[in-house]
Amino acid sequence: MKFSRLTVLVTVLSLLAAGVAFAGKDLDAVRSKGFIQAGVNGGVFGFGMPDEKGVWKGLDVDTARAIAAAVFGDANKVKYTPLTAQQRFTALQSGEIDVLTRNATRTLSRDTQLGLNFVQVNYYDGQGFLVPKKLGIKSAKELGGATVCVLPGTTTEQNAADYFRTNNMKWTPVVIENTTELAKTFFAGRCDVLTSDASQLAGTRAVAPNPKDYTILPEIISKEPLAPAVRHGDDQWRDIVDFSVLAMINAEELGITSQNVDEMLKSTDPMVQRFLGVVEGNGKALGLDEKWAYNIVKQVGNYGEVFERNVGVNTTLGIERGLNALWTKGGLMYSPPFK
């Protein structure tokens, strides 16, 4: 009895597998499911986290929503899988998720050895230092002999060690496992400096008893380009994910927002016409509806809107655009032409 059931199970599973194999493409799988399964962080405010009502919010969440808007014309057709740092790449490799939008740093080894393809960066991060203003420190170069609060076992700790060694400075790490406790320790004055990704530092400063007493030093000691990723094997799906992110950036370049996108449909600018699908071609090239970019901007917004809504200066995090500004404004956000 048991064995026969097992046989049936195995048969069904192999048939299912065969079915998937024939369909082959991730895009087809997504289309037949009717939604996108996105891997997200689940615990980083401003990037991917549920709010008080359990509704997902954040920059990475909005990126996933943009992809859904492009594919289905409905930004809500996303299901979120919260993933830990250890699970995230396996979940993508095993097909549990279709796209990973979980503040993952693009590196050479991840891109090659893990069988992944990273696409356009949706946030340029980097490691920085948070210090109390009363220390009077203006540059990280003055941190010699400092006690530094840091999370263990991350690249953060290693980066800090490298930085202090390169600059011939002594330091005493205070290693604390949990982000919340790390911040508490720092505010209690047990260490002089707190080091973490710049995006995290802003959030940490925001919860200080008196945020104005702390300042983030100008030095950024590591590069952390955070980008969505897909698995190898379906280039069309990769293109769609890539251009969904780029569409948000391009919309900002063209000055199209979720507010004015309907008026922009009447624009005579050929770039805008091509972008919004008034002049057809882009949609067909990607295998999407011609309205795909319009849907992204209308339902999710351009990159600037998404940034300001989730992490910008008017949010609790209060992060400046910095590297994430458009290339025309001194940042790194740059979109290839949409033609």
């Binding site: 008080e52 699970q87 549990e96």
Partner: protein, 363 residues
């Protein structure tokens, strides 16, 4: 022997330092110089700790206010719980549908309380549970009677904790008993299998099993085939707990005197009857305390599923704390959670003590 007439004697009260509160104090707390010293030190320590804690927790605290109001006070900000209560308890379960897991939990608690009474241990109890489980599953999953479907990846918070714990314990117990019997079996294949299983599972921490289930296991499946994440974690917890229960039960089996087996044999009972009617009822009774110990740790271990990103009640609380608004109030949130876990565990161990007494037949 006659007593002298008491009327002629004045009744002397014992000195005031020997009776009453003072007497007790002297007898127990100040009966020697080092005990006196210890008493004073402990009192000092309490004086240092208790009033500030009391002030922090009750006097200067706020109980239900927006996060902003917490910034200006010195005391505890208990508001972190009531302000986020719906996410902490129900997690991702869609707003407006949360009565469903609520009802399911009430039903489960009701069934558990009903099952506590030994008078109710009849065949009908099984039926009630079966019906109860079907109703609970329907409530949680939906899809009928106009209730929208809620996939398991949205099951989170307290219902998830209860589910993982209850099924973890209920399914692990019979499996553990079977494994224990298997380990003492005279059939080499079965015995080896059980020994290997038990030792392998006991040889690794639950965390690694959970990791295996969530990270490794999907890689063995063909691409595109996925097995529900909650189910995988649940199975891992069951397998893990069963191995420990098995060893506990084996202890009980080994404590059985040979005479019990021989008596059963001489009555002409076969293996099944011997085990079912003679050995197991006695053996399982002996091992109630360690079994409950296992159950308690299984219940608390469910919180380890945070590492595979399942949102049990601990994780939903942690997520709430990641919101910068509430980040500073982890102490309050963790205290509240500790109280919750304590209540559950204390109820379980209390019940087991009663059960032990009720089943005590004196030998």
């Amino acid at each position: 022997m006659t007593n002298p007439p008491s009327a002629t004697r004045e009744y002397l009260k014992p000195p005031i330092t020997e009776v009453g509160v003072l007497g007790w104090l002297r007898g127990n707390l100040f009966n020697s110089w080092y005990n006196s010293l210890l008493t004073v030190l402990v009192l000092l320590a309490l004086w240092q700790v208790v009033p500030p804690f009391f002030n922090w927790a009750f006097i200067n605290s706020v109980w239900n206010s927006p996060a902003e109001a917490c910034r200006d006070i010195d005391g505890a900000c208990w508001s972190v719980i009531p302000q986020n209560i719906s996410f902490i308890i129900f997690g991702f379960f869609p707003d407006g549908q949360q009565w469903r897991p609520g009802l399911a939990m009430l039903l489960m608690i009701g069934l558990v309380i009903y099952s506590k009474d030994r008078k109710h241990w009849k065949k009908s109890l099984g039926t009630y549970w079966l019906v109860g489980l079907v109703v609970m599953a329907t409530l949680m999953y939906g899809g009928v009677f106009g209730m929208p479907v809620v996939e398991t990846d949205q099951w989170s918070g307290l219902p998830l904790t209860f589910m993982l714990a209850l099924f973890g314990m209920v399914a692990a117990y019979p499996l553990g008993v079977l494994l224990a019997l298997g380990r003492r079996s005279r059939m080499p294949a079965i015995k080896t299998l059980c020994v290997v299983y038990i030792e392998m599972i006991r040889g690794v921490p639950l965390i690694s099993l959970l990791f295996m289930s969530s990270v490794m296991f999907p890689l063995f499946l063909p691409e595109g085939v996925t097995i529900d994440k909650v189910l995988r974690a649940q199975v891992a917890i069951i397998l893990f707990t069963a191995a420990y229960i098995a060893e506990v039960v084996r202890g009980g089996l080994q404590a059985m005197a040979r005479g019990q087996f021989e008596a059963a044999d001489s009555l002409g009972l076969n293996y099944n009857q011997t085990m079912r009617l003679v050995i197991l009822p006695q053996a399982l009774k002996i091992v109630i305390p360690p079994t409950v110990g296992q159950m308690l740790s299984a219940f608390k271990d469910t919180s380890l599923v945070v590492i595979i990103a399942l949102y049990d009640v601990l994780k939903t609380t942690k997520v709430t704390l990641s919101n910068p608004k509430w980040t500073g109030y982890s102490t309050e949130a963790y205290i509240a959670l500790a109280i919750f876990y304590f209540i559950c565990c204390f109820a379980m161990s209390n019940y087991s003590r009663k059960l032990e007494k009720a089943l005590h037949t004196g030998h």
